[in-house]
Each structure stands twice: as C-alpha cells, then as structure tokens.
C-alpha cells in the first residue's frame, strides 16, 4: 500500500541525504607498494650539490634530508610553508644576521653513524667553498647562494649557527631547496656521485647508470610511520612517447617530468581514468645574448632580436598554448616577485607582431645591416628536443626580419662549458630556478663575473641593487627593488625571456598525496607522504 512503501523508503532517503551532505572523511594512508616513475633524463650522478639538473635532484631527494624543507602539501612555496626536517627549530638573530638551527636528536645516517652538527658544517663549508673546508666539491654550481655566509659554527653537536656578513632573509628559503641536502661528513664526496648515504626516508637499493635508480624504505627514518611507500623506482625512459605508453600500460604510476601539453593530452585521451595535474614551473625559455661578442655588442641589434621574437607566436607554436609571460622573475600569481601584468604586456616581443618586426628591421638598418648586407647569426642550443624546437622557431623568426640565421646544435656534455666561455653569438636556453627567490636568481645569472652569467652581462649598478634587495627585510620595499632590477634587465635585453613553462603530470587514481608545487620543480621529490591506495 502506498503509505507503507513511502514509510519504508523514508529512512533510506534520509540516510542518503545525510550521507551526501556529510563531509567525506579523509582516507587513512595505507603502507606498502613501490612508486614507479621516471626522471627528466638520465641523472649524470647522484650528488645534488655537484649537478645543476633536476634529473639528479629527483632520485636523490628521496635519500637525503635538508635542515628544513618546503611542505609538500602546500602548492605555493614560501617562507610560510617551511617545515622542520633535520632542524627542529630555528630562529633569526641579530637583525637577520645569524641563523640558528636546533637540530633533531637521535638521527642516524643510512650506514648507522649518528647525525650531528658537524655534518651540517661540513656540507655547507664545502658548498660555499670555505678556505678551511674539510672537503672540496669538484663542481660547485651554487657556490654563490652562500656567498654571504661568513662562518658556520657548531657550539654543540645539535646546534648550528650560520653567521652572515649582512642580513639575508632568503638564506632560509635556499636551505629548504631540493638543491641543499645535508651530506655525511664521514663519506668521501667522490663516493656520493654513485651512491647516496643520507638520513632520508629511502635508502639507495640499486643504481644502474642509464637504466634506473631504485630506492627502498628506510625503516629507521626519524619520522615515525613514514614513509608509507616500500620503495621508489626511478626508471630512466628516454623518449616521451615511451613514457606516455608506459604510464598508460600501468608500468609507471606517475609520469610527466618534462612533458608539454600535447603529451599530457595524449596520455589522458588514451586512458581517461588517469588523474592529470597541472602547475606552473619555475623554468623559463630565454635567449642568451653574448654582450662581449659582435654583433650583439650593439644595443640596436640586441633590441632588434628581442623585438623579432613574437611572444604570441611562441605561445601558439613551441609552447603549445601553455606559456605564461614575465620578466626575469616568475610571473604572478604563481610567483610573488614578478613584474606587474600591465608592465609585462609592454615588454619587447609582446606587442603587435608586424609592427615590432618592422621596428626590428629598422633598428638593423640603423646598425648597418640590410638586404645587401644581411646580419649573419648563429643560434646555438643544446641538442635535445626541448631546446631544439624553440630554437628552430627562433631561427625562423629571425629570418623573417632578414637575418641570415642558422642553428647550431651542441651536445649536452659540452653545452655549459661553451656557454661559460661565451663561445657563441646568441643561444636559446632553458633556466630552472631552484626557488622562487631573487637571491637564487639574480646572483647566479646576472652578477658580474658569475660563472653561470652566460651573457657576459655586467652592470655595477645592478650588482649594487642586488645586494641591497637581498638585505631588505620589509617585504614591500624589497618587492619594489626587485621589480626595478627586473625592469632594467628587460630594458637592456640581458637574457630576454620567451616564456615561463608549466608542469604537466599524470598519475593513476591509486596514487595519493603526490606533491606538485606551483613555483618550483626541485623541491617535491622526497615522497615521504605519498601512498598507494592499492
């Protein structure tokens, strides 16, 4: 009878309403399983302090710890998202001139030896190239990050003090980067290239160069109950079509390092079940301009080249629609130090393409080049697809303003030395910045005489401003200075930026808590909170 049926149905309906309106309780992480993923490319070694590529930071991060780290769960990194690792507490003293870390007790290295403040001093003395350092790094790409450190003290086995020459609030962030792990003082540096001895959530199980890096759970990790995973396997898969196919076939759990939008869409279209995630990346495609070699010594030629590179065409072409635009610092909202949008829209190359190309041709004519005397330029780049594609595009753009441009492909092995020697005219380059902070960007890339200042650009004025902003404690005042530096760099064409990139990752639904940050690619590979719902 109708009444009785509705009476019977009512409690069910009520329960359904309650169930739907209640918040879903967070799932309890399960332990177990091995996460299989791929690095950007084959790591040249396992030692982050001696490399400048994420390919090393990716597998090595699981094995080491920093003093402090960026919270994996917070997408935008910043001073507010720093969490303790080997350091339990820290504090600035003396107007940001001394940074004191109180270290965790009872932490052991993977080989059983105890972790003390000596390890911290050993590591960072080596990295900063201290004259009395116990060890010397063969290659030291981030020496300039610690240029401001005067002395590192260890008053007791669980306290470290960084004494700085001048205030530098950014030091804290640099120590939280994936590029700043703490090394063991009792293991020779050379050994760390092929094996890793850290305090981290995973131990190295096997490293086969060019094939894979396999890590297994560290049962004595100082964070109880972590990691959830039994292991992480970084399988080196050279080309993206195989990476996509491997993910789709279930042989990889997560994939996407180095992917562009087209790869992402291909992966998803083949397997709609895949979870796709996107984030901004602190990697930009830029043009290195050799300030010391004609014809780029002429500011008119530099400006012409910059104007000819139509950023909108770059967006449609090599960037496949996924670029964001800005100056030398990561543009907002992903980055916090970028130039305001209104200013970015007026940068060379951002305006009307036809007009700017005409302008460029005129500038070249002023500089003495024309149809009868075309400017001959060699565009150098690294011999891998992510460099060659935008570089080929750039060659075409230059040819459209009458430049006789050719592409020169340089093998990875000799790329950096060639750039350091300034043995090129213009080059198409990719720069990944360790953390979204002016100190990590400006000193390395634009300071007079910096090894990684691949343009030979030198301005004492800018150098002075760099130091000034580095010690400015007031956030708003610092932003003003940073923008001013950025503005000038763009005006002088010191490393014009074609566009900032994005990260495109895909993983199976059973992978939980996979971290992806909006303003860096280097600081998320520890994977101690990742778990598999299998």
């Amino acid at each position: 009878m109708p009444l009785r049926r509705s009476v019977r149905l009512a409690p069910i309906a009520l329960l359904l309403v309650i169930a739907v309106s209640l918040p879903v309780p967070a799932q309890t992480p399960k332990s177990g399983g091995v996460l299989r993923t791929h690095p950007l490319s084959a790591p040249p070694s396992l030692s982050p302090h001696e490399e400048s590529t994420i390919a090393t930071v990716q597998p090595a991060s699981a094995c080491y710890n920093n003093l402090i780290y960026f919270d994996p769960a917070k997408k935008q990194e910043g001073e507010g998202t720093i969490i303790p690792e080997l350091a339990e507490r820290w504090s600035w003293q003396d107007g940001h001139r001394n940074l004191v870390f109180l270290l965790r007790k009872n932490v052991k290295w993977h080989d059983g030896k105890p972790f003390t403040s000596q390890d911290v001093k050993y590591t960072f003395d080596a990295v900063r190239g201290a004259p009395d350092a116990a060890a010397k790094l063969r290659v030291n790409p981030r020496k300039l990050w610690y240029d401001n450190v005067e002395h590192i003290e260890t008053p007791d086995p669980h306290t470290v003090v960084f004494r700085l020459k001048r205030p530098q609030p950014s030091l804290l962030l640099m120590l939280a980067s994936g590029y700043s792990p703490v090394y063991p003082a009792h293991v020779p540096l050379a050994d760390l290239k092929t094996k890793c001895v850290g305090t981290g959530p995973f131990k190295l199980k096997e490293y086969r160069p060019g094939e894979f890096v396999e890590l297994e759970r560290n049962p004595d990790y100082f964070v109880k109950g972590r990691p959830y995973l039994d292991g992480v396997k970084w399988v080196i898969v050279k080309d993206r079509s195989t990476q996509i196919a491997a993910l789709q076939a279930g042989q990889l759990d997560v994939a996407g390092s180095g992917w562009n939008k087209a790869n992402w869409e291909t992966a998803k279209s083949g397997k709609p079940d895949l979870v796709t995630i996107e984030a901004s990346s602190n990697v930009n495609v830029n043009v290195l301009v050799n300030f010391k070699k004609p014809p780029m010594t002429d500011p008119r030629v530099r400006q012409a080249v910059n104007l000819a590179l139509d950023r909108k065409a770059y967006q449609a072409g090599p960037a496949l629609g996924a670029a964001t635009f800005g100056g030398a610092m990561l543009p907002r909202p992903a980055g916090v130090w970028g130039l305001p949008e209104a200013e970015v829209a007026k940068l060379p190359g951002m305006g009307d393409a036809a007009k700017q190309k005409t302008q460029a041709k005129k500038l070249l004519a002023d500089a003495g080049f024309g149809a009868s005397n075309p400017l001959k330029l060699t565009v150098s780049t690294r011999a891998i697809a992510i460099y060659v594609d935008p570089a080929s595009w750039m060659v075409d753009q230059l040819r459209q303003i009458g430049v006789d441009a050719v592409l020169e492909q340089i093998e990875t092995g000799v790329w950096h030395p060639k750039m350091t020697r300034l043995d090129f005219q213009v080059a198409l380059n990719l720069t990944g910045i360790g953390i979204d902070d002016p100190d990590a960007n400006f000193f390395e890339n634009f300071k007079c005489g910096s090894q990684r200042n691949f343009s030979g650009y030198c301005s004492e004025d800018i150098d002075r401003l760099m130091v000034q902003q580095s010690q400015t404690l007031d956030r708003a005042a610092r932003l003003k200075l940073v923008n001013e530096i950025d503005r000038r760099l763009q005006h002088e064409g010191a490393r014009p930026v074609l566009g900032w990139g994005k990260q495109f990752y895909a993983h199976w639904p059973y992978v939980k808590a996979f971290p992806l940050h909006d303003n860096s690619i280097y600081n998320t590979s520890r994977y101690q909170d990742v778990w598999l719902d299998k």
């Binding site: 080309d239 087209a262 291909t266 072409g317 090599p318 011999a383 020169e408 492909q409």
Partner: protein, 299 residues
C-alpha cells in the same frame, strides 16, 4: 669475404667500345627488367623533386606558424609538425638534402676508393698487399659506427657529415675497381701498348679506366641508397645535418614519435620518402648490374 665479393664482382667489362652497345642495351633493359624500369622512374622522380623543390613546395619549409600539429588540409597537404611547419614542403625540400648529401658522399667515396683501387691493382706487389689490408680494416667496422664516431669527432656539420658517410664507401669502391683492373691489365692490347712505350699513367687512364666505367656506375647507384640511409640514421641520432635544413632523418627523430598519436603523418611520410628513394636506387642498381654484366643476368 673476398670470395663472395668475387661472385658479385663485375670482372670483365666489354671491349673495345661501349658506345655501340649502349642503344641495344637500353632496349634490352626495359624489356627484361620491369623492376629496373620501376627503379628508373623512382630515381627520376627523386631527381625531379630535388631539382624542382622550390616549385613543388607550397610553403617555406622553415617557416613556423601557429597551426601546430594540424591534420592534412587544403592549405597543408600533409599536415604540419609541432612548430606549425608544412610537412609536405619539408618532405619535398628534404629530397634535396638527401640526394645532395647522398650523391656527394657516394661520389667522394667512390672516386677516392676507385683511385686507390686503380693504383693498387695496377701497381701490384707489396703496395697492393698493404693497401688491401688497410681496405679490409676499413671495411670491417660497421658503417654506422664508423660514421657515428667520425661525425662525433669532427663535429656535426654539413661537410663533416659528407666525409663521415663517404669513408665506408672507399674500401668497397677500391675492391671493385681493383678487380676490374686486375682483369684488364693482363689483356693483350694493354701489353701491346706498354711494349710500344706508352707510359704507365697513360695506359692506366686511356685504356684501363674507361673499361671500369660500367662497374663504377653500378657501384655508385648501389651505394647511393646506402649513403642516404646512413645520413638518415645520423640525423636521427642528432649527429647529421643541423637545422634549419629539413632532413628526412631528422624529421623522424625520436621527437616525432612523441607526437605520433596526435599526428601519425609526421612519422609516416618522411620515412616513406626515404624508403622510396632508396628502393628506387636499389632497383636501378640491380638492373644496371644485370644489364652491364651478362654473367650475372638472372640473379
């Protein structure tokens, strides 16, 4: 190794004049060699495409556009690549690169090798033995490995690529010409010329060389396909012709595979072009060899 090459070698070319035989040889050729005729057509098409590339192409092969990974359409006959460049125009211009490099390196290797073979065969004795050993050594290394190492040592550029691809042809050409020379050297009329006091170089040039032309042409045609393939492989591995010149091999580099799901035409057409070009030269080479050496007819 020597034994098998002898089986395939063209030892005794015809005497005294080749011209009169040419016309009837051509007619015989087409009748008896349907495959060879197909080869002629393919090679002619390749040559025509290379020469008329500017006319046949619809776009500038280097010009990028915003129509990225577009499907074949009225505007872009074979679609576009990941930088918005017209694939059809790139394939058409690629024929120029492949043919030019293939011909240049084959000719370079064949002429150099031929000269060495001529000297080796004519002079004989210890010189011959020594040169033979060196040729053996050069031939023992796999072509691609040799070309790879050379390209890496010399650096990736157009002239270096040509040199790298030509080196493996030298021993093959030397062996061939040497065999011809050995066969002709002993013939009566050559001895007569010597007896009359004609000097060695003149004998070599005027009497021996013209009669090695047959096998030489076959060699060039046969090796042309090989050279095109090696150039493609070098470009594929990133060591060949640099951008922006469109090279079929480089169009097929691993990067093309990553877009293959969205744009399979990027993988199909350049590879088909290489295959057809090499197929044509191989067919032609086979047919020429059959015609110019009756001993091997039917094989």
């Amino acid at each position: 190794m020597a034994r098998v090459v002898d089986t395939l070698d063209l030892a005794a070319p015809r005497l005294p004049s080749v011209a009169g035989r040419r016309r009837s040889a051509a007619a015989r050729f087409i009748r008896r060699q349907p495959l060879g005729s197909a080869g002629v057509v393919l090679v002619a098409a390749l040559l025509a495409t290379a020469v008329l590339a500017d006319v046949l192409a619809t776009h500038d092969p280097v010009r990028t556009s915003s129509h990225v990974l577009a499907a074949p359409s009225a505007d872009f006959w074979l679609g576009t690549d990941n930088l918005g460049r017209d694939l059809y125009s790139r394939v058409v211009h690629g024929s120029r690169i492949s043919l030019a490099i293939g011909l240049a390196s084959t000719l370079l290797g064949a002429v150099l090798g031929g000269f060495i073979g001529l000297v080796s065969g004519y002079v004989g004795g210890t010189t011959d033995l020594l040169i033979q050993r060196v040729m053996d050594i050069m031939q023992a290394l796999p072509i691609l490995v040799l070309a790879l190492v050379l390209a890496a040592a010399l650096g990736p550029s157009l002239p270096n690529a040509i040199v790298a691809i030509s080196i493996p042809i030298v021993p093959r050409a030397a062996r061939l010409i040497r065999a011809s020379v050995l066969a002709i050297r002993e013939l009566a009329y050559v001895e007569a010329a010597r007896a009359l006091g004609v000097r060695h170089p003149r004998v070599a040039l005027r009497h021996i060389l013209p009669n090695t032309m047959g096998p030489f042409i076959v060699l060039i045609t046969a090796q042309l396909g090989g050279s095109i393939l090696v150039e493609a492989a070098l470009s594929f591995l990133g060591l060949g012709i640099p951008e922006p010149y469109p090279s079929w091999g480089r169009m097929l580099s691993i990067a093309a595979a990553e877009y293959a799901e969205k744009a399979p035409w990027l993988v199909i057409w350049p590879g088909l072009a290489i295959s057809l070009a090499v197929f044509g030269t191989n067919l032609l080479g086979d047919a020429l060899r059959d015609t110019l050496d009756p001993r091997l007819r039917g094989s």
